[in-house]
């Protein structure tokens, strides 16, 4: 089963971190990702640029509206993700627990909904 680990972090805190702290954090994420690869659970991962680079698009009544900024202005924002393949929720949670994010932010664990498993008539 695939799970997406969504990493929510305080962007202001990240921006204010010292160079030394940032280096340590980067190394911690690197080691974490490497451990996932070694364990054969890694499907994909990425870090996201801060929400000051985000753009939202919607088209109410058919007219496209492009706005600068994230979908919601909150203190903690989606800062990256890991996609993993593991047998069950407990294994997914054990990986989430080890994610460096949990020390300063929040990790949300969501099961992936495969297209083959979605039938609008059911």
């Amino acid at each position: 089963m695939q799970y997406l680990l969504l990493l929510y972090v305080g962007e202001a805190d990240m921006a204010a971190a010292s160079k030394d702290d940032s280096r340590k954090m980067t190394a911690a994420y690197g080691a974490y990702a490497e451990a996932m690869v070694q364990a054969g659970v890694m499907v994909g991962a990425n870090r996201l640029r801060p929400t000051e680079t985000a753009t939202t698009v919607r088209s109410p009544g058919g007219k496209t509206q492009v706005l600068d900024g994230p979908y919601a202005e909150t203190k903690e924002q989606l800062g990256g993700y890991f996609m993993i393949e593991v047998p069950d929720l407990d294994t997914a949670l054990s990986w989430a627990e080890r994610c460096p994010t949990v020390g300063h932010g929040v990790v949300e664990v969501r099961p992936v909904w495969p297209a083959s498993d979605y039938d609008p008539d059911r």
Partner: protein
């Protein structure tokens, strides 16, 4: 018992949780397992009166449930993730169903009390899946509308299936915390039966019995866990006093005024034995300490006097362990018995600023009782009135009103 309908009902009662756990543990789908089993029980009621009761009723029911599951799988009602399990189920021929269905109820209990489950739904879910209680009965015990409870249970089961909460025992390192959640859920079920205001609602009274049944099951499955023993002992002590907590006229009788002759000696003996067994395992915990407090109250049966000094010591340990204001309230009352009402009140005053106690009846009742004993009639009356306003049980309300008017 020869009526096939009675036999079906008896098998359902004895085996429901075991059959459900067996199927759900293999498909990861509790709701699907419930549907399949309910079809199987319906088939039993239709078939057994005609063809007779099979030699191995559980295996018969399981074979039917399995066919229903496979049918549901073919109709696309189950997720592809379950397909592998269904194939495995299909391959295990009916003849290979062991005469005793393997017991996966412990894994089921851990699923119900999984940290990913809403704490409020854990006890209801356990009662429904392990014991087969219907949502309406559970709703009534938890003072919830049946439709609301039904919805909560459905959502919980959907979560188990879609998030793939595994049916297995927690890792050793996680066991204490995960077991604590199971114990809390069982105790919540017991509490829902126990706080039945009138003590008269048969369905709610049953729930305390059902929780004790879950406690016994847990102890049989985890005989080396002292806190599981402690919880069962605690529930049995409380149950042993059920008859004594109301006078023949239905009036509330506080613990220290109860007629010890009306306590159930058999249940107390069982509780004492469990607590002794737990204490030999050398890992003290919340439920063992609470049960030990009840055991100390029970000393009054032999000596005519409650061992308040021991009770204060036990509450000291509980307070350190839990930091719960409820413990502090009970401890204050015990301190008053040992060192006098003023000392008890001084302990209680430590909680005066805790906003959670503004609507907590036992705090105000304890306060009123201590103030009354110190002769502060006016303050006692104010505290009694506050306690009366917060009480839902008419018998307890009458009791408090009696104390209030006795202030003169």
């Amino acid at each position: 018992m020869s009526d096939p309908a009675d036999i079906a009902a008896a098998v359902a009662r004895a085996s429901y949780g075991r059959l459900l756990a067996f199927v759900a543990a293999r498909t990861g789908d509790v709701a699907g397992a419930e549907d399949a089993l309910s079809d199987a029980f319906a088939a039993a009621l239709a078939t057994w009166p005609v063809q007779g009761v099979p030699d191995r009723p559980e295996a018969w029911l399981l074979a039917v449930a399995r066919r229903k599951l496979i049918d549901a799988g073919r109709r696309g009602r189950s997720s592809p993730g379950a397909a592998e399990h269904l194939r495995l189920l299909a391959e295990e021929g009916a003849a290979e169903i062991p005469s005793a269905v393997p017991d996966d109820r412990l894994a089921l209990m851990f699923v119900c009390a999984h940290p990913a489950m809403d704490p409020a739904v854990r006890a209801p879910l356990m009662l429904q899946t392990v014991l087969g209680l219907d949502a309406a009965t559970i709703a009534s015990a938890f003072l919830t509308a049946p439709a609301t409870m039904g919805q909560r249970l459905v959502r919980a089961k959907t979560r188990i299936k879609l998030a793939a909460i595994p049916f297995r025992l927690p890792e050793r390192a996680d066991l204490p915390e995960r077991l604590a959640a199971v114990l809390d859920a069982i105790y919540a079920a017991f509490g829902a039966g126990w706080t039945d205001p009138g003590g008269t609602d048969a369905r709610r009274r049953d729930l305390a019995g059902e929780a004790i049944w879950l406690g016994r099951l847990l102890v049989s499955l985890l005989p080396e866990e002292p806190e599981a023993l402690g919880l069962l002992a605690l529930m049995l002590y409380a149950e042993s006093r059920r008859g004594a907590r109301r006078s023949p006229d239905g009036d509330y009788v506080p613990l220290d005024e109860q007629d010890v002759g009306r306590w159930d000696a058999g249940l107390i003996r069982q509780a004492e034995a469990l607590l002794l067994r737990a204490s030999r395992m050398g890992a003290v915990g919340r439920f063992q300490l609470e049960a030990a407090v009840q055991s100390a109250h029970g000393v009054r049966r032999q000596t005519g006097r409650t061992d308040w000094a021991a009770i204060v010591q036990l509450y000291d340990a509980l307070e350190t362990l839990t930091g719960s204001p409820v413990v502090t309230i009970n401890r204050s009352v015990a301190v008053a018995e040992v060192k006098g009402a003023a000392a008890g009140l001084a302990e209680l005053d430590r909680l005066a600023d805790d906003p959670r106690l503004a609507d907590y009846q036992p705090y105000w009742a304890a306060r009123a009782g201590l103030l009354a004993r110190m002769g502060s009639a006016a303050s006692a009356a104010a505290a009694y009135r506050r306690a009366i306003g917060l009480e839902a049980d008419p018998a307890v309300r009458r009791f408090l009103q009696g104390r209030l008017s006795a202030l003169g």
